[in-house]
Amino acid sequence: MTKKMIILLNLILLTGCWNYRELNDLAIVSALSIEIVEDEFLIGAQIMNAQKSGTSNGSAEASSNTPVIVYKFKGKSIHEALRKMTTESPKNLYLGHISMIMIDDKVAKEGFKDVADFLIRDHETRKQFKVMIIRNKSANQGLTILSHLEALPSQENLDILNTASNYYGNVTSVSFDEFLSFIYAEGVEPVMPYADLEGDIDEGMKKESTEQTVPKSFLRFKGLGVFKQDKLVGYFNDLESLAYNLIVGNVKSTIIPFKCDTESYASIEIVRYEPNLKVEIKNNNKPFVKINITGDTHQSEINCDIDMESLEGRNKISKLANDEVEKIIRSAIEIAKEKYTSDIFGFGRYLYRYNYKYWEENKENWDQLFKNIDYEVNSNLTLVKKGSTLNSVKGATNNEK
């Protein structure tokens, strides 16, 4: 019995430990940037700085160094470039906690498939990290900008992305696996949020830049990049991106400003809404798209003289708001149709799902059909709350008590 136990124990203890790595021996990568320079990959890795301040005392506060360190390496493959970083980094790179991948305009235009294989094949990376484009600068510069309100820049970018998509709606967070599935899905094209780097980037990577009230440089999300297959074909601006999100139903809450008389503006807040997309086949064997938007809005601001006490006034302002929503949605569809010919809204996917026969016959020339597609937009948002006051401050008169 004892003999058996010794043999058994040795079997366990002498084989070593599979995949044993102490946490402090890892360089935890929080974000990656991927560019292609002269037919080689240029990889930037943002590494969380988990160094203790000082050497003698054991307090667990983070060091006074910057919260992240960025390494940059070229390689024929992405993995090679990452491994080369060990010539600079004292710890091996750990990719399990990547939260974001930044690519530049060029990679996006040449095709995302070129860089996707390593990320999907590697066993360490989770596939739920977000993807984004740095439009006006090189992607690795996006990694160098320090965060202002969060501890880690990658976390801050992620939070900005989520907050903007929840409360404004000009971007939507797209994860790596979602993006890939959109590339391969039939009848729909992917989008990817893009950001511009603004300010003095060389200053933004210094710690001093976070010690002032106005950051020297920052990363600002501008909208969505429109793809055709895996290739970027163009960018949507703020309103167009918002329109895209309204059509596909990504928006949780947003503000729509609109003109209420010749020079002043009013705005509504959409608090709950439901888009309804339908693609019908007309007699001439052409698809016809019907977009119906219903939901509740709050009147959030009126800067012109409209009598909100009367039904006509409320109807008027409600109609103006609905007209504005219809207008921005139309303009986004026009641009997607005419300029990019990319069916990002998933009209084709609707047919694929609900009229498969038609889709099978026409998927070869769907681009042509999409380019000339007819559509109709109906916005039926209901004004449910007028806010704490009735008439606008401007429109209030003296005889109203």
Partner: protein, 486 residues
């Protein structure tokens, strides 16, 4: 037989039979005026000095000379005691007897006299030390054998309560009593255990634990097959579920057999609070049981193998705290666990006067200095602290020791293969504890074999207006109580 018969001897025999001839039943008979008079009392409940001084002494007077015709009436009115009752039913006699009254039966009368001779069982009973009581009764078992049995009897005044006595120890000759409720207990267990106890061959016995060890065949189990408690209310409530209590002379603990895992996670005080709050307590206790076994293992697995399970924000913090610590996480963990165990053991063994200095040194060494010196990381201190605090929720020392052993085995498993290791050790753990049998009852009873009612009652106290102990009797004797609730 409900009425008292004229033949006093018959009544006495009947009482003897009903109570299963308990060793503490005293029967004294003498003849007065040519009539047979019986005096009955329960030794453990009645005050013997009182009986001798007032009752027997009165009998020794020359009652014969009194010219009373109705002897019963005379006795009833003239016996010099504070409280005298006239009884006409045998059930009343038994109840009075078990409450500590002395019964006088006279041949030829269909009545009995009961005289209060209650022993003051609360005299030198002290508060429990290890199992503290917040809401329940504060009395605990003492070193007095009679008192201990009395404390249980006091709570269960029923003829169903049986006591079997044996004397063990060739030199020590200690009295051992097995107490159980006859209608709830499984007879086979009682007979088997009683035979084993009678056949124990030892010179002196000091503790109940020794008895259990001597009558248990498989001693390799990490978890004990009994619990020892110092609270009489706990014992009484467990007796109601069909357990057997073993009381040993000169020991202030009473052992309960058989037991299950679910008993360990329960506390008799759960019955004294509102069900919804008590249910919360039970869930907390169950969580603490898991936490105390698994926390160090999970921490080691997370930081050395399965980094992807740590939330990103926590990862930096963990990594920062680990940086500068020279040892592997597993060494760090073992260091802290061993230090804590040493501290605990020292605290338990050292005289009370040292406790303060121990606390200071312990707090400083474990909390501050070790971290500042860079020997352990602050997070490890937290992990061990959570583990230890959760461990203290288990008040039964033997169980706590079993838990401690398994904690180390889990730690070893996780240090070899991360979560995979925890899983493997988990299988071994479950296999092991499901093999334990406590005197014929599986340790996991309720869970395996599965009884829905018992699980519900163990975690969430029943809100129904029903004595849920009935459910639990099934654990010990499923055949007998099987149909009761299904």
């Amino acid at each position: 037989m409900v009425e008292i018969s004229k033949n006093a001897n018959d009544v006495v025999q009947y009482i003897k039979q009903t109570l299963d001839n308990p060793p503490d039943l005293i029967i004294k008979d003498f003849n007065i005026k040519k009539k047979k008079v019986f005096l009955l009392a329960i030794e453990t409940m009645a005050n013997s000095t009182y009986i001798s001084d007032f009752i027997l002494e009165y009998f020794s007077f020359d009652i014969e000379e009194k010219k009373e015709k109705n002897f019963f009436k005379f006795l009833y009115h003239n016996i010099p005691t504070f409280k005298t009752n006239k009884l006409s039913k045998v059930d009343e006699i038994i109840y009075n007897l078990l409450s500590g009254f002395t019964i006088i039966l006279i041949d030829g009368y269909q009545l009995a006299i009961s005289i209060e001779t209650k022993e003051k069982l609360n005299s030198d009973i002290v508060e429990t030390i290890n199992e503290r009581s917040t809401l329940g009764p504060k009395d605990g078992f003492t070193e007095n054998y009679q008192t201990n049995i009395g404390l249980i009897r006091k709570r269960l005044k029923t003829s169903d309560l049986k006591i079997k006595e044996a004397i063990i120890g060739k030199l020590g000759k200690s009295k051992v009593a097995m107490i159980y409720l006859d209608s709830f207990v499984k007879k086979e267990i009682v007979d088997e255990v009683y035979n084993k106890i009678k056949n124990i061959n030892i010179d002196v016995i000091f503790d109940v634990q020794q008895i259990i060890d001597l009558i248990t065949e498989n001693k390799k189990n990490t978890f004990p097959n009994y619990i020892s408690t110092e609270r009489p209310d706990n014992v009484s409530s467990l007796l109601l579920t069909g357990r057997i209590a073993i009381v040993l002379e000169n020991v202030s603990y009473v052992a309960i057999i058989p037991i299950t895992l679910l008993d360990i996670l329960q506390n008799v005080e759960d019955r004294y609070t509102r069900p919804i709050n008590a249910s919360f307590n039970r869930i907390i206790r169950f969580l603490a049981f898991l936490i105390t076994i698994l926390t160090p293992a999970i921490y080691v697995a997370m930081t050395t193998y399965n980094h992807e399970t740590i939330p990103p924000k926590l990862l930096v913090s963990f990594s920062t705290q680990r940086s500068g610590v020279p040892f592997a996480t597993i060494i760090e963990a073992l260091l802290m666990i061993i230090t804590f165990e040493i501290l605990k053991e020292t605290d338990a063994r050292s005289p009370n006067t040292f406790t303060n200095s121990l606390t200071i040194v312990g707090a400083l060494v474990l909390g501050e200095a070790a971290v500042n010196a860079g020997i352990v990381s602050p997070i490890m201190v937290i992990v061990i602290a959570i583990t230890s605090i959760s461990g203290l929720i288990i008040t039964y020392l033997d169980i706590a020791n079993g838990v401690r052993l398994w904690r180390l085995i889990f730690l070893l498993g996780s240090s070899l293969a991360g979560f995979m290791g925890i899983l493997i050790v988990g299988f071994i753990f479950i296999t092991n504890i499901s093999c334990i049998k406590s005197f014929g009852t599986p340790f996991l009873s309720g869970v395996a074999p599965y009884y829905k009612n018992i699980i519900e009652d163990s975690l969430l106290l029943s809100f129904k207006n029903k004595f849920t102990r009935m459910v639990q009797r099934k654990i010990i004797n499923p055949k007998k109580f099987g149909d009761e609730n299904d």
